[in-house]
Amino acid sequence: MSAAGSIQIESLHKHFAGPDGRIVQALDDIHLDIGRGEFVAIVGSSGCGKSTLLRMIAGLDLPSSGRILFDGEPVQGPDRLRGMVFQDPNLFPWLTVRQNIAFGPRMRGRARDTAAAVDALAALVGLGEFVDCWPYQLSGGMAQRTALARTLVNEPEVLLLDEPLGALDSFTRMAMQDEILRLWTELRPTAVMVTHDIDEAIHMSDRVVIMTPRPGRISQIIRVDLPRPRDRGSDAFLRLRARLLEVFHLAHRAQATPEYSL
């Protein structure tokens, strides 16, 4: 995959009108540099703006102020080079697995010369036998593999993952974590994953960004210096997990009692 794919987020603010008409500060003064090929996980409780942040990196939403640079250029809208996988696979029900994966190339008028790549990618995510199935025939894990392949066929420089495994059972979930890591190792896109699962964040990422809600801020960034492939049961893993939980609880206690807030 391409060598590019860096992201700089500078003084990013995002607010919008809430249902009662009041201004909601969704993101407050976010700074974050993500290097090419890096795997960053964003964790935080609901309402901390982590999904909003991811959608803005994708270009589905624009900043109120500040900016997001993608390879040095401001993000102004969606781009296939910043592919996104949602919690719901969002497969097109009228297309087969193969046609779903081929959607991006088809939109660019390159359906014919990418046909082989589509089949290769389907095989890579373990869907080789199912390319002619309809989405309704797939299990949750298979549907999410299809969504992953559909995004990866576009050769994105940045892979944005919005709780992609949130709807899966824990066994499928762990298998899919390793699956995503394998693809990431092979194709080396920059990866930014939103999750609420601390184990998932430690297992997969180079850095864990912890966010707190109201307003959405980055409270801490923790580097995960464990060698890959990682062992979920190793002492180092568990120590880091304990530390992250502590930071997480502290951050939330601070947020829950305003008189001690940062």
Binding site: P78, F103, W134
Partner: protein, 260 residues
Amino acid sequence: MFRPRVKTETLITLATVAVLLLAWEAVTRLRLATEVLLPSPRTVWTCFLHIQADGYKDHSLLQHLGASLGRLGAAFGLVVATAIPLGLWSGCNSKVAAVLDPLVEFVRPLPPLAYYTLLVLWLGIENGSKITLLALAGFPPVFIACVAGVRRVKGDLLLCARTLGASRGQLFLHVVFPACLPDIFTGLRTALGVTYSTLVAAEMVAAITGIGWMVLDASKFLRSDVIFVGILLMGLTGILLDRILRILEDQMVPWRGKNR
């Protein structure tokens, strides 16, 4: 939902039809009603054979059927060509909806006979006014189904398509339109029913062909047997046309009713 688990259900359907036919036969055998009120199945069958062989009032049965189905087909084609694009456009654009919605809402509940005379005055007494009448009846259900279909398209599906590189124009062609296909077919099937039931009204004035006309003409002479033949033919062709639409739907929307 409608998986072909039909064995028992088909039998029940056939049994229902058989029971009705037997009851009909019994009522006439027992002379509970006169031949004018309720002609016997045998009389109706004989009448059918007679019309099939000699035609009804200068035209063969096929000509009558053909005339009706021709008007129906032309009207249906008109509906497909206008209601689908206008409905989809209206669903995508609230300003277009502001123009079209009230007009459709106004026309929809009107009984077709109320404005038929006007159509005849404007478009002449030939097929033009008849086809327009049928098309006006069939337009609202398709239009409304299209608007509803567009509004039901899942927002995330559109966002997803954008991140995959689809332009705004491509969103319509490659996401909105296919996502609306199930609703479009529902609308078409409703429209078929509505236009079909308007057929008799459309053939009331200055027609000399058509199954609807045949029934009306027979009514003047209290030919109950001909009325029965006409009604049965209309009912059966109605079912047949709906079946054709359903087969078409299965071909074009194989994912219908199946989630994820």
